[in-house]
């Protein structure tokens, strides 16, 4: 029984966000890198919803709704870009996609 401190939700959100950043930096598969970004967006949504609870306003829900819409649009475009890259190079490793150098 009992209620959950608001700061726990925010900490969870921060942890998930940091894990997303870690995935983005350390993974080499393009698709996993992209998924890490989705993880970060999810973390942000949790923050929005938590603040919304704390402020007793519905606005935060709207923001996370828009984030979802944007994430869906990004996923469509991003996966299409990944498909074109794969078609031209037959690889999904981000290190292999670097033909331009100083």
């Amino acid at each position: 029984m009992g209620s959950v401190p608001i700061s726990w939700f925010l900490t969870l959100s921060a942890v998930l966000f940091a894990l997303g950043v870690a995935g983005f930096l350390f993974r080499r598969s393009i698709i996993t890198v992209f998924m890490s970004i989705e993880l970060m967006l999810n973390a942000v949504n949790l923050s929005f919803v938590t603040f919304s609870y704390q402020l007793k306003k519905v606005d935060g829900h709207l923001f996370s709704f828009f984030v979802m819409v944007v994430a869906a649009a990004e996923a469509a475009v991003g996966l299409a870009i990944i498909l074109t890259v794969f078609r031209n190079r037959k690889t999904l490793n981000i290190d292999d996609v670097s033909s331009m150098k100083d």
Partner: protein, 504 residues
């Protein structure tokens, strides 16, 4: 129960440029389906018409200034300036695209529709007064430009550029959003006017919601820290869009890999719109907590200038060199932002205006010379251009001199106002370092000039086709505008001063 969902006509008028652009973009798609022609000049002509109409709409909206849609949007001098700027950038991009796309056999309706949508997103950013509108405008502009970068799908470099731009762009967007979330938690609103009100009269706690951090913390905790973190996260997102250091790594690859007209567009349009948002967020909403974010911008300005200029020195690929130079230019603009004054804001606007013309012009020439498949991008390829195509070379000379900041060009006054504003805000060190940087920059621009006039014609210069009307118009307009801003700066400067003063 039924709410009146129809917005007021004044609201719609203030949104008119975006509406025009979106409708015309959709019309282009429908037309492309009806015409059943993959490649045609008609699409370009139509999109020029759309952009001219949008320009008219932006000016018309200016006559009916004020907030719209419950203060989500605000039409004022700043908004109108940047709307007009990105629309003009769009016109120049279309003019420069005609021949380029024809050469690639890719002058399709989709390209122009995406361009129009992207510009609509940038107009929305310029006028946005609410972080959620900023965010959606940013995404409209970005998603369209991701696709435009990878538009030539069979080009390996373009794919790679699109992928990098997309991944790093979305990464930065996530940071921006986290910043938005923190702002929402701290102040209880993400409306920029609301944020400002909450931060200026915080002790009353009335502006912010009862549950916001501002009220909860009760002034025992150091709230500027939270605001600083929020500002830093927002800065990451926007700094990425303007390719400010340390978020610049994508720029060289993307600028090099993208089709030249798209590069010209990317280096000016989204950048200008992002700086408009910068001005709104940092100079207006976060102004009360200015001390929290100033060191951040200071550092970023210096890093951008230095990294951009010194990396540009080493480049042999001209597109890549211009990419680094555009990082450096973002640094100069950040110097003006660091000044945190109305003069600084006016200088930002003036500089971006001048920069748009000279940079689009420079990239248009590069794209013209590069030939089919963008083979010739090396600095050596500019050899003897002055001999073979004197007009093109003369234009490029104007643009490069302006990029250096030579008097009588727009670039000179841009830099002048920026450093003046910085000095007035006692940023002596930043000014000195910035001036040193401009001196370094002169070297690599001059290298191109020397190549053009003092070398034997290269293969590229010999093969280069004569200037087509569209491209010639784009170059002439850019050159004339660059010179105009360099000789009669007052007209634009007065407007930006007035807008900057009004912004508060």
């Amino acid at each position: 129960m039924p709410v009146d969902l129809m917005p007021a006509s004044a609201d719609l008028i203030r949104l008119l440029p975006e509406i025009v652009l979106t409708l015309m973009g959709t019309l282009l798609m429908v037309l492309a389906a009806i015409l059943r022609k993959r490649s045609s000049n008609a699409y370009g002509n139509l999109s020029i018409a759309a952009l001219l109409a949008a320009l008219g709409a932006a000016v018309y909206a200016y006559t009916r200034q004020g907030p719209a849609f419950g203060n989500m949007l605000v039409v004022d001098g700043l908004a109108t300036f940047f709307r007009a700027l990105v629309i003009v950038v769009g016109i120049l991009t279309v003019l420069a695209s005609y021949r380029f796309l024809r050469r690639q056999g890719a002058e399709t309706g989709e390209y122009h529709a995406l361009l129009l949508f992207s510009i609509a997103g940038q107009c929305l950013m310029a006028a946005a007064n609410d972080l959620i509108v900023v965010f959606i405008g940013l995404e409209i502009s970005s998603l369209a430009s991701y696709v435009m970068v990878g538009y030539l799908r069979d080009d390996k470099r373009a794919n790679e550029a699109a992928l990098k731009y997309f991944l790093l762009g979305s990464f930065a967007t996530a940071f921006f959003l986290y910043g938005v979330a923190l702002v929402y938690g701290i102040t209880g609103t993400i409306n920029l006017s609301g944020v400002r009100a909450a931060l200026t009269a915080p002790e009353s706690c009335l502006q912010a919601g009862a549950g916001s951090v501002l009220c909860v913390q009760n002034w025992l905790a150091p709230w500027p820290i939270f605001l600083g973190v929020a500002a830093a996260l927002l800065f990451v997102g926007l700094g990425f869009k303007v390719s400010a250091a340390p978020f610049q790594i994508w720029a060289p690859d993307v600028y090099q890999g993208a089709p030249s007209p798209v590069t010209a567009f990317l280096s000016t349009g989204p950048k200008a719109a992002a700086f408009a948002v910068f001005l709104r967020i940092f100079m207006s909403a976060f102004e009360p907590g200015g001390a929290a974010w100033e060191p951040l911008v200071w550092f970023s300005a210096l890093a951008s200038m230095t990294i951009g200029n010194f990396a540009a020195l080493r480049q042999s690929n001209v597109k890549r060199m211009l990419a680094y130079s555009s990082i450096a230019h973002a640094g100069y603009v950040l110097v003006a932002l660091t000044a945190r004054s109305a003069d600084g804001a006016a200088a930002v606007m003036f500089y971006l205006g001048a920069y748009a013309f000279m940079n689009i012009g420079a990239f248009a020439v590069v794209g013209h010379l590069a030939g089919k498949g963008e083979r010739y991008q090396d600095i050596e390829d500019f050899g003897g251009l002055g001999q073979k195509q004197p007009l093109t070379a003369a234009m490029l000379t104007i643009f490069l001199l302006s990029l250096i900041g030579v008097p009588l060009t727009g670039g000179f006054f841009g830099k002048f106002y920026i450093f003046k504003a910085a000095l007035e805000s006692h940023l002596v060190w930043l000014t000195v370092l910035g001036l040193l940087n401009s001196a370094v920059a002169a070297y690599y621009y001059l290298r191109v000039l020397v190549m053009m006039y003092f070398r034997e014609p290269s293969q590229a210069a010999i093969e280069a086709e004569p200037l087509r009307p569209g491209l010639r118009a784009a170059l002439l307009v850019s050159a004339v505008a660059t010179l105009f801003l360099g000789i009669f700066p007052n007209w634009v400067l007065d407007f930006s001063n007035k807008s900057a003063a009004m912004m508060k």
